[in-house]
């Protein structure tokens, strides 16, 4: 397996944004992550794919400590994730996350969803937080929905609000966990467009998705995970045209079949 697992290290001289070394995690007896090594350079855009249950969500959720890893080391922007609450706070302030099911706060308006964290975490004056929120709502092209409640928006609009909500914290890294897989097909593009826009601006992104078109155009690197391991990683062109391992080939044939 090691021959197929060609590590594409960040280019020399590049600043490292995220560094995972030999990360293991168990759910009780179940070994979910089996020694993950991954180094992400600043500005790099990574797509993670793999069969359901292979540990993709768990992996990116370890990066902002929504899950705790039990062995190995995770360093985000120079801060190591340990039980130290200060470190966890520091990492979460700088790492944004977008979920499959949006997880917007239903009792707050779109604008309030966006200003909540800047006000309570960044201790920002309300007016300034609202100004920034409007800036990002314009970026995701829904400034006119600012005073509506999430329940009044379509899925695609909700996911764009979720992205704007994260951006309001000016994160250095964005994590996406299957951001389009809960959406109706006609709404996928509007969300992907926003993500492509982010990528073009140089955001460091780790994105779990099966949108292979997105991976081809946006990713610097595609990672294939299976059963808690990184099986293969490569530049998109190589990855799709010349997969090395049998597991990758099987997965790609299944996913590209439809």
């Amino acid at each position: 397996m090691s021959d197929t697992n060609r590590t594409v290290a960040p280019r020399p001289g590049d600043e490292v944004a995220i560094e995972l070394s030999d990360v293991h995690k168990w759910y009780g007896e179940f070994h979910v992550l089996k020694g993950i090594n991954l180094s992400v350079a600043r500005g790099e855009r990574i797509v993670i794919c793999g069969p359901s249950g292979s540990g993709k969500s768990t992996l990116i959720r370890c990066i902002n400590r929504l899950e705790e890893h039990q062995r190995g080391k995770i360093v985000v922007d120079g801060v190591e994730l340990t039980n130290n609450l200060k470190n966890i706070d520091a990492v979460r302030r700088d790492v944004g996350m977008v979920f499959q099911h949006f997880n917007l706060f239903p009792h707050l308006t779109v604008l309030e969803n966006c200003t909540l964290a800047p006000i309570w975490v960044r201790k920002m004056p309300k007016a300034q937080a609202e100004e920034i929120a409007m800036k990002y709502l314009k970026r995701v092209r829904i400034p006119d929905q600012a005073n509506k409640y999430p329940g009044q928006l379509s899925g695609g609009q909700q996911q764009r609000v979720a992205i704007a909500r994260s951006l309001c914290m000016s994160p250095k890294v964005m994590l996406f966990d299957e951001p389009t897989s809960a959406l109706d097909p006609e709404m996928i593009k509007e969300v992907l467009d926003v993500m492509i826009g982010l990528a073009n601006e140089g955001m460091t992104m780790i994105c779990v998705t099966h949108e292979m078109g997105f991976a081809r155009t946006v990713a610097n690197r595609v990672i294939f995970m299976d059963r808690g391991e990184i099986v293969e990683q490569n530049e998109p062109l190589e990855f799709f045209n010349n997969p090395q391992s049998e597991r990758t080939k099987l997965f790609l044939s299944q996913i590209l079949a439809h």
Partner: protein
Amino acid sequence: MAISRNLGNPAPQAPRRSLINDPNARAVFFQILVLGGVALLGWYLVTNVLENLARQNIATGFSFLDREASFAIGESLIAYSPANSYSHALLVGFLNTIKVAVLGIVLATILGTIIGIARLSSNFLVAKLASAFVEIVRNIPVLLQLFFWYAVIGESLPNPRQALNPIPGVFLSNRGMKIPALADDPIWIWVGLSILVAIVGVWFLARWARKRQEATGQQFPIVLASIGVLIAVPLLTWLAGGAPTALDVPELQGFNFRGGSNMSPEFAALLVGLTVYTSSFIAEIVRSGIRAVNWGQTEAASALGLHRGTILRLVVLPQALRIIVPPTTSQYLNLTKNSSLAVAIGYPDLVSVANTTLNQTGQAIEAVAIMMTVYLTISLGISLFMNWYNKHIALVER
């Protein structure tokens, strides 16, 4: 209309079927039947009672309320003696009911919320203890629990001569709990007023803190500051008044205590019993309300860098409250209605006083009518208030 349609329809059985099988006609028919039955029964009862009353020479009507009650009441919030009227006695009972209901609702809400959150604790022991409490308490009839607490207080505490004296001035005995009362001094009125002033001050302080945060982003330790104000203002008033320390300390004289104020064993048993029983239900409501808020909400808020307390206050509770409030309302109503079980352990609540009145005067209908009216009014009051509150928090969402 049915007839005009049937004119064009030669089917012979159509008109007959339409009356017997028409669900509307049936509904009306059965409603008339039920109404007639109820009216008949009511007529029978009323005439019967009137006849019986006439035979016993008891006048109907509420004029008995002005007569002298001539029975003593164990404890009262207002001045009362047996020479007062029945209406005054009933007022004493009513106030006693209100006293135990209000205190019970407040304490049951606090205890229930704590236990409900404890059941969600990640600490195994805490969670299991809370579960055990809920399962035991809510599965034992409340009347039994009242007897239990009354027995605990009455049997396990010594008589006044051997009263427990855990803190100087406080005496625990089977006659209740005696605590020192504040000696008469005009300063206490001012201290009371200053507490009101402090509450208003805290309200303004909270407003100012919110405004300042909106303007500058700076947060203000509002909870600590509020506690400070609530303690400091009355304290300063008391000091300014010469800091009087005279207390009316209870003293043992003969077989019982003199002076101080008293919490009777009956009241204590009723309050503890109702609080504990109702809190177990509220705990379940709080727990399920918090559980009903999607875990994704907490995750999204954590990912944004918010802390646990802030998440609970700004994200989880506002959503949980909408689920919690309606069923909690019915627990408040239950507690208030259950307080009428006071009669079983001799606490002079409304039912107990009305019952004595009934026995002495024979005015059964009037006494029961008074009780029902009062409970109905209290219950509707609670319902109205909670509905208003529910609307208020629902509006926050939409």
